[in-house]
């Protein structure tokens, strides 16, 4: 650890003296945590923390390396479970670096009292997901904590991938003239989990969208499209993914809000709860930024995987600050990073 790091100094931009749930929400508070604590403590290069995964060169081989921890309540939800998420989430982070997943590690923290049957179910989900994603789980670890000290199961997976994209896939390469393609409808995972957790029942069951993303990304790379940036739309949803790219690249993205596919049950649930589907988490959706000349063909390719794929935005211009703007009845407005989790409205 650098000797310049003084843990006693209050880090810039952090308020309060305790960790709140919102610090893990993926929005503004998470950024503050990274910028205020982790970057000063750990970063050696300027881009160390801007991406979901690190790009490494080991004896000439270009590799991507990433890690993620999974805490979800309930453990099982329509369309998946914590085991599915733990595989797809990490595989997808590798895919967003243009890397083919090679090997995963798997570490579980189990709470005393967890039903063995539940663990068995999770383990078989992990196997099925790893098979579907074409990746091997090669090493692992298990710890058990006292009852009440965990939420049943926490999982961490780390992933190693082989980068096959020729040019770096990073936000900084996104430029005016680029087009943004969204790989499918948004909002299903977050609403499915929230509905399950809070006991909401809707007419149509909403299933999580969790899915491995390497196949569509490999198809895009294989056809030689010049992918400037890829981003999977997990915590904070589509809006957060776009805003992070805009901030990192110093560009203004014009988002066509009406072009974003949100399925009817998710729209209904969001209207009732007063939450914005653009900010709801997904586990099997990504956006790709690439030159306009390649957009139509790339869209065609992605529609082979999901007919709901669509062009949802364009990069208008470079700006000093970076912004994502949408049209309204009375002019444009900018989207903002959410601070903390979205809270259902009162009335």
């Amino acid at each position: 650890m650098s000797k310049h790091f003084a843990p006693a100094c209050p880090p810039l931009g952090l308020t309060g003296d305790r960790i709140e749930l919102a610090h893990g929400g993926g929005g503004l508070k998470t950024r503050q945590l990274i910028e205020g604590i982790f970057r000063p403590a750990l970063a050696k290069r300027s881009d160390d923390f801007t991406h979901d995964g690190a790009r490494l060169e080991i004896d000439g081989a270009r590799m991507a390396f990433t890690t993620d921890s999974y805490v979800v309540r309930p453990l099982f939800f329509p369309g998946g479970d914590i085991g599915t998420l733990a595989i797809y989430g990490t595989v997808n982070d590798l895919a967003m670096c243009g890397a083919e997943p090679v090997a995963l590690s798997l570490a579980l923290v189990l709470e005393e009292g967890l039903a063995i049957a539940d663990l068995q179910r999770i383990a078989s989900s992990i196997r099925d997901a790893a098979d579907a994603a074409g990746v091997a789980v090669v090493t692992g670890d298990t710890k058990v904590v006292e009852r009440g000290k965990g939420d049943g199961v926490y999982i961490n997976t780390s992933g190693l991938g082989r980068i096959i994209a020729k040019s770096p896939i990073v936000p900084q390469r996104v430029q005016p003239g680029d087009v943004i393609i969204l790989s499918g409808d948004v909002g299903r995972h977050g609403v499915a989990v929230m509905a399950m957790r809070e006991g909401f029942h809707f007419e149509t069951e909403i299933r999580s969208d969790c899915a491995p993303l390497w196949a569509p990304v490999r198809a895009l790379i294989g056809r030689g499209y010049d992918l400037h940036c890829l981003r999977d739309l997990t915590r904070g949803g589509l809006a957060t993914g776009l805003i992070e790219i805009a901030l990192a690249a110093g560009i203004e993205i014009m988002l066509d809000e009406h072009g974003v596919c949100v399925c009817e049950p998710v729209r209904g649930a969001c209207e009732i709860l007063g939450i914005d589907p653009l900010y709801v988490a997904n586990e099997g959706r990504f956006i790709a930024a690439l030159p306009e000349a390649e957009a139509a063909a790339a869209l065609e390719c992605l529609r082979g995987f999901d007919p709901a794929a669509a062009i949802i935005g364009r990069v208008d211009r470079a700006t000093e600050v970076g912004a994502v703007v949408v049209d309204t009845l009375g002019g444009k407005r900018a989207l903002d990073l959410m601070s903390g989790e979205q809270l259902p409205r009162i009335c």
């Binding site: 308020t15 309060g16 305790r18 960790i19 709140e20 749930l21 919102a22 503004l28 508070k29 809070e198 009817e264 729209r267 209904g268 209207e271 009732i272 007063g274 600050v321 912004a323 703007v325 309204t328 009845l329 009375g330 002019g331 444009k332 407005r333 900018a334 903002d336 601070s339 903390g340 809270l343 259902p344 409205r345 009162i346 009335c347």
Partner: protein, 372 residues
């Protein structure tokens, strides 16, 4: 939820905008009461479609915003008791009192749980007979009926470990206070559609007569709001002052009679302090004597709340429509949703939060102008 898109259709919205421009011959100042309406207006840019000279002031209809800081502090003090499970709507958990927020109380060890309905709190009370469950009952006439139902249910089940910190407020007395205030500029109101769904609009009829001000019961979607504005301006231009109902797909003159009966049974009306607006006569609900045993203030008579410090926050003026967020030197700099100085920046229905979220480009320009 179907039937949403047709209330957001841009072409129809533009036709309404043109119709408003056609009937408008002079400047008018209208106020929308409800925070949900404010949110929709700012999000969709409705205010920018109106003719120059027609302005919308944003009213006090955000339940989170008008809950006094001292009540938030009472909530935090109750939540911090070791045996208490404190249940609150999510929106309320980020609102700062002097002693922090319910979120920071939770981070410090308090058992604070987010619920969607007081009935969820009742379920928690049944499951935890050894703990004291306190529900934070806030909101307007929209949420008060479910609070009343929860009290009646708790009474039937004789739940002894359940109580409520009640801070329900009523809309018509606040409108009366605004209209009788020395600085009132409001010439017409868009009344809150959801409140009227419960209460009807009989109570607005004396207001209209007394103050000669048109009141249009209005919904929340862009076309609802534009139609409400159109109806209100038409009354003003024609020199009329009546109660009209734009939100007729949901609102009846007498409202929801069963809900009103439950309110009348469980609550009595008393004077109540509003955050930023001070005490307003007959504007609050408190538990009627027959249900006083569910009053958390009586169950925890010894809680002490810190004295409020003076703040540069102008949310009182914002809530009365006297100033807009851009007039506040702290807006977007020292006061953000991340670090709010006042409740109007916290709630998703708060005016400052709506401006911060949807008008950030302009907020940036304002900040630059101030620095220059």
């Amino acid at each position: 939820v179907r039937h949403v898109d047709e209330y957001r259709d841009p072409a129809a919205a533009r036709r309404y905008g043109d119709a408003i421009a056609q009937i408008t011959t002079r400047d008018w100042i209208l106020m929308e009461i409800c925070g949900g309406q404010t949110h929709s207006i700012v999000r969709h840019g409705i205010d920018r479609m109106l003719p120059w000279g027609v302005s919308l002031l944003h009213g006090p209809g955000c339940p989170v915003c008008v809950t006094p800081a001292s009540v938030v502090d009472a909530a935090i003090a109750m939540a911090s008791r070791p045996n208490v499970i404190f249940c609150s709507f999510g929106d309320m958990m980020r609102v700062p009192g002097e002693a922090g927020t319910l979120f920071t109380a939770r981070a410090s060890g308090a058992d604070v749980r987010m619920v969607y309905s007081p009935l969820d709190a009742l379920a928690i009370a049944r499951e935890n007979p050894d703990r004291e469950i306190v529900f934070f009952a806030i909101g307007f006439e929209t949420t008060a009926p479910t609070t009343a139902m929860a009290v009646l249910q708790a009474d039937r089940e004789d739940l002894r470990n359940f109580s409520m910190l009640v801070s329900h407020v009523l809309v018509p007395p606040a409108m009366e206070a605004l209209l009788s205030g020395p600085h009132n500029a409001v010439q017409g109101f868009l009344a809150a559609g959801h409140v009227c769904t419960v209460m009807g609009y009989v109570d607005y009829e004396p207001l209209v007569r007394r103050h000669k001000v048109p009141i249009v019961v209005t919904g929340f979607e862009p076309l609802d709001l534009l139609q409400g504005i159109y109806m209100c301006i038409r009354q003003l231009e024609e020199g009329r002052a009546e109660v009209e109902n734009q939100y007729s797909r949901s609102v009846r003159r007498n409202g929801n009679e069963r809900a009103r009966a439950a309110l009348a049974q469980v609550f009595t009306i008393e004077d109540q302090a509003w955050r930023g607006m001070g005490e307003i006569a007959s504007s609050g609900l408190t538990l009627a004597p027959a249900y006083a045993r569910f009053d958390a203030r009586k169950r925890f008579p010894d809680i002490v709340v810190p004295t409020p410090n003076p703040s540069e926050c102008i949310s009182g003026d914002i809530l009365r429509g006297l100033r807009k967020p851009g007039d506040c030197p702290a807006f977007g700099t020292r006061c953000t949703p991340e670090h709010p100085l006042g409740a109007t920046m916290v709630s998703s229905e708060g005016t400052c939060a709506a401006y911060y979220r949807y008008r950030r480009l302009e907020a940036g320009e304002m900040a630059l102008r101030r620095r220059a």
